[in-house]
């Protein structure tokens, strides 16, 4: 037995680090910023970027998306981030299908940053993952890639066997002919590489699918069950150091000065550097870096930084909601129609800030030399990060090499519109270059507290709705006003997705209300607040699904109609909504009485249906409320219409997980600020749903031959309104403030 021996950590700071430290403090005192450091760093950086990703000899690499090795492996290059949604299974399935490969020969590799080959076809020239677009934009592209490779392998076999290509067959990765000849893909790989790439290929008919729509096991389950899956947090590089950063307590607050006297003696600490976001302590281990960070004496400029409080902001939002906003939708004259209605209802809703709180706190590894900035990251937005790093570092975008690793969750956080945490990691590497220490890989690790307090939240919102019903119980007018921060204002996406003052992500799900109502108005106030905000799994639908679907439910009751019938009557023009709604209602036994609870318990059933990212999800929630107004969600029946379900089990998993994620927000999610300080810090004050609170879930997929739409997000926004409607059915109480509290 070889004992693993641990060496003591390296001795305290060497001379170099002391020099860096002195330099940093001097710089801080003189008010210099990293931007000025950077000019020097840029001057040192010259020369061409390295070429990466050349194919090995003997490989058959027909296109950017796959290669066949002589060892008979088929390696699929996946252009999207695997963050749990199953894309490392879904995209390889498309290639395996058209290639007729055996699933066991398929390997997966993350694509490098190269928007010329790996752009998201729904995002134009940009490479990245989000908006539940991975399958939707890749469905034909990856199938065509597989079909082209198959045609070349078949042509190679036909050439060798001197038979017509039409007479060559393929099954499970084996090429064969009626004459008895056969060959593996590996054996044909080299010859196939000499075939011309076909200009046009015919894709399979759906009836011939062997993988699409069938059960294909996830490619990452084994590695994620035995601890070998490698996340950014797990990356080890030679001579790599770990950095933990002292961040300002308030958003936008500047550093005044710092004193690292207590840090220098901590074993393992190597460097202390000032960066734009604060002060980074760089050490041989995480623990040394964290102890160093905690020992820093840092003073922040009290004249800078955001000092708002969420309570006061919410009160302002409520006032704003009483005044007209910018028009996001105007059908007819809603105000007039409601004014003349037989019955009028109004309701106001409040939604808090929400943190993404991925299990893997934000982190990023950077190795910077004058020629190359290499980054290892759960990389969700290659093109944005590449350009942001290039701009910051003075390198060219092609000198930024991004290695995409598994992400331990993201929920939108790792696709930062400002590349915030990635740039923070780069800024640490830049500080090391400036200090004459280029090429040292540094892993920046945020603690849970850094992550929770680090901003980029789902914005806080207020919604004000009113509607009128005529004497026969039909909605005649609907008026919906939304108040909240714009996610896209000030980002590169603003020009594309903010139109006439309307940030589409603020109103999606509201401006797209599917119900046939003659007079509809949707208005928006975009507030300007110094809290960084970002898309959060299902984005605008996180709040619009709640207000629209609970208000519709309230209107159904006011109209004396069954909530499913009421919705059905207004969805004639939306067959996908109808199909999902009816499937969920049918499978839930809607209309049949719920079994009674124990003595003193009330039970209720609620429904909601909502489209996001082209996918329609309907859910029926069943709840039990006890005599103390505590409640539990017993069961959720979910129907999803996502076109072709490429991997039905992954679709089910995303619905299950989406419901659990949505329940966390419905029951617990709330980030608050007081005098600019975020009041939550870890899972004791920002709790996550646990297994004992998870309902039973039945997922049903609407059979469809439509092109696939995404499933990563659309399961999330539907559960909160379905739950609230169930609670209203059980208790008569309408909850309009999130998270939900009864009693």
């Amino acid at each position: 037995m070889n004992p693993m021996r641990m060496r003591p950590p390296a001795t305290p700071q060497d001379t170099m680090s002391r020099r860096v430290f002195l330099k940093s403090t001097a710089a801080a005192g003189a008010g210099l910023t990293l931007g000025l450091y950077f000019g020097d760093a840029v001057a040192q950086m010259s020369g061409p970027g390295k070429t990466v990703g050349t194919a090995a000899i003997g490989m058959f690499e027909p296109n950017a998306f796959l290669r066949v090795g002589r060892d008979n492996t088929v390696t699929v290059v996946v252009k999207h981030l695997e963050m749990g949604q199953g894309v490392y299974t879904g995209l390889p399935t498309l290639i395996a299908e058209e290639l007729d490969a055996a699933w066991s020969q398929v390997r997966v590799e993350g694509a490098p940053a190269d928007a010329s080959r790996y752009n998201n076809l729904l995002w134009g020239p940009a490479q990245g993952t989000g908006g539940s677009t991975a399958m939707a934009n890749s469905y034909e592209q990856y199938r065509q890639a597989g079909a082209a490779a198959r045609a070349m392998l078949v042509a190679a076999a036909a050439g060798q066997w001197k038979v017509g290509a039409d007479s060559v067959q393929v099954k499970n990765g084996v090429v064969f002919h009626a004459s008895g000849k056969k060959a593996t893909y590996g054996e044909l790989a080299e010859a196939a590489g000499r075939q011309p790439v076909p200009a046009n290929v015919k894709l399979k008919d759906a009836k011939d699918f062997v993988y699409i729509g069938k059960h294909v096991p996830r490619t990452d389950s084994k590695a994620k069950s035995n601890g070998t899956a490698r996340f950014t947090q797990d990356l080890k590089l030679p001579d790599m150091l770990t950095a933990v950063v002292a961040h300002a307590p308030r958003f936008g607050q500047k550093l005044a000065r710092f004193d690292s006297a207590g840090v220098t003696g901590i074993p393992g600490v190597r460097y202390v550097v000032e960066i734009p976001n604060g002060v980074a302590v760089i050490a041989t281990t995480f623990w040394a870096a964290k102890k160093g960070r905690d020992a820093l004496k840092v003073e922040w400029d009290e004249t800078t930084g955001f000092r708002g409080s969420s309570d006061a902001m919410m009160a302002e939002y409520v006032k704003l909601a009483a005044t007209p906003g910018a028009s996001a939708r105007k059908d007819g004259d809603a105000g007039n129609a409601i004014g003349g209605a037989a019955k009028k209802l109004e309701a106001s809703f409040e939604f808090p800030y929400l943190a993404h709180a991925a299990m893997e706190p934000m982190n990023c590894v950077v190795k910077l030399t004058p020629e190359l900035c290499e980054v290892w990251n759960g990389e969700q937005f290659q093109t944005g990060d590449q350009f942001a790093i290039a701009k910051y570092s003075g390198l060219k975008p092609e000198q930024i090499k991004l290695n995409m690793l598994y992400a331990g969750g993201s929920f939108g956080r790792r696709a930062s519109a400002t590349s915030d945490y990635v740039l923070e990691a780069v800024s640490i590497a830049v500080a090391l270059v400036k200090a004459g220490k280029p090429g040292i890989p540094v892993k920046m690790v945020w603690t849970r507290e850094d992550d929770m307090k680090g901003g980029y939240y789902r914005p806080m919102y207020v919604h004000a709705l009113r509607a009128g019903i005529d004497a026969s119980g039909n909605i005649v007018g609907w008026h919906h006003r939304i108040v909240g921060q714009s996610i896209l204002a000030g980002t590169a996406f603003e020009s594309m997705m903010v139109k006439d003052g309307i940030d589409l992500t603020s109103v999606e799900g509201a401006s797209t209300l599917p119900y046939s109502i003659p007079h509809v108005a949707v208005e928006l106030h975009s507030t300007k607040v110094g809290v960084p905000v970002l898309w959060w799994r299902s984005v605008g639908s996180t709040h619009t699904a709640y207000s629209t679907e609970t208000f519709i439910d309230e209107l159904a009751v006011a109209a004396g109609k069954d909530p499913v019938d009421f919705r059905r009557g207004m969805l004639a023009k939306h067959p996908r909504h109808l199909a999902a709604l009816e499937l969920a209602a049918d499978k839930a036994g809607w209309g049949k009485p719920l079994p009674a609870g124990k003595a003193g318990e009330k039970r209720g059933r609620g429904v909601a249906v909502h489209e996001s990212f082209g996918t329609v999800v309907a859910q029926v929630a069943e709840v039990t409320v006890d005599k103390d107004s505590k409640f539990r969600v017993d069961r959720v029946v979910c129907a999803v219409h996502c076109g072709v379900a490429v991997n039905p089990d992954v679709v089910r998993a995303q619905m299950e997980g989406g419901i659990g994620f949505g329940l966390t927000a419905a029951l617990y999610g709330k980030i608050t600020l007081k005098d600019g300080i975020v009041e939550q810090s870890n899972f004791h004050d920002y709790p996550l749903l646990r297994i004992n609170e998870m309902p039973a879930i039945d997922v049903h997929i609407v059979p469809s031959t439509d092109k696939p739409s995404g499933v990563g997000e659309p399961g999330v926004p539907v559960i909160a309104p379905a739950l609230a409607n169930a609670l209203a059915a059980a208790t008569g109480k309408r909850l309009r403030t999130l998270p939900l509290v009864l009693g």
């Binding site: 037995m1 070889n2 004992p3 693993m4 641990m6 060496r7 003591p8 950590p9 963050m83 749990g84 949604q85 199953g86 096991p217 996830r218 389950s221 994620k224 069950s225 035995n226 601890g227 070998t228 996340f231 947090q233 797990d234 080890k236 074993p267 041989t284 281990t285 995480f286 623990w287 709180a357 991925a358 299990m359 893997e360 706190p361 598994y406 331990g408 969750g409 929920f411 603690t447 849970r448 089990d649 998993a653 995303q654 299950e656 997980g657 989406g658 659990g660 994620f661 329940l663 966390t664 899972f683 004791h684 996550l688 749903l689 646990r690 297994i691 004992n692 998870m694 039973a696 879930i697």
Partner: protein, 154 residues
């Protein structure tokens, strides 16, 4: 110079290693056993769960100084018991993981449960697993996979 065993191999800790270093970071940074994850640092999420003498333990709040000499620590990399293999097989069969970051902790907690309770009830599962948070909410499958593993061991 504390000595203990990690996955059956002897580990000698040099005198210079601070006693307040949590076991989690000894495993990850010094022994390169990165299957055990950092999630909260406060024993709130359970991603760092390992077995110490068979007991599921939060390594993020277990300082080196608290380890008794000779203790047996098992991490996800060294999980070789019958229960451990059954859990991992069930995890794969049911495609439990999504992002996967918490799953080492889930597997370690589930294995410890099955080692002491052959046919766990839902209440047993709730009790043993509530401490391990999964942000992807893979709980439906975690529950099913524990039952599947129990069946396979019967």
């Amino acid at each position: 110079m504390p000595t203990f065993f990690v996955n059956k191999e002897r580990v000698d800790i040099a005198a210079g290693v601070p006693g307040d270093t949590p076991l989690l970071w000894i495993l990850r940074d010094n022994l390169n056993l990165t299957g055990t994850k950092y999630g909260c640092g406060m024993a709130l999420c359970g991603a760092c769960t390992v077995h110490i003498d068979g007991q599921p333990t939060r390594s993020c709040v277990t300082p080196l100084s608290a380890l008794k000499p000779g203790v047996e620590i098992t991490t996800i990399e060294g999980l070789a018991t019958r229960e451990g293999r059954a859990v991992q097989t069930a995890w794969e069969k049911l495609d439990v993981p999504q992002c996967g970051y918490c799953q080492s902790g889930q597997v370690m907690a589930a294995t410890a449960l099955l080692a002491r309770t052959k046919r766990p009830t839902d209440a047993d599962i709730d009790e043993a697993m509530t401490g391990i948070a999964c942000r992807c909410a893979t709980y439906v499958r975690i529950r099913a996979a524990i039952k599947e593993a129990a069946r396979s061991l019967a």
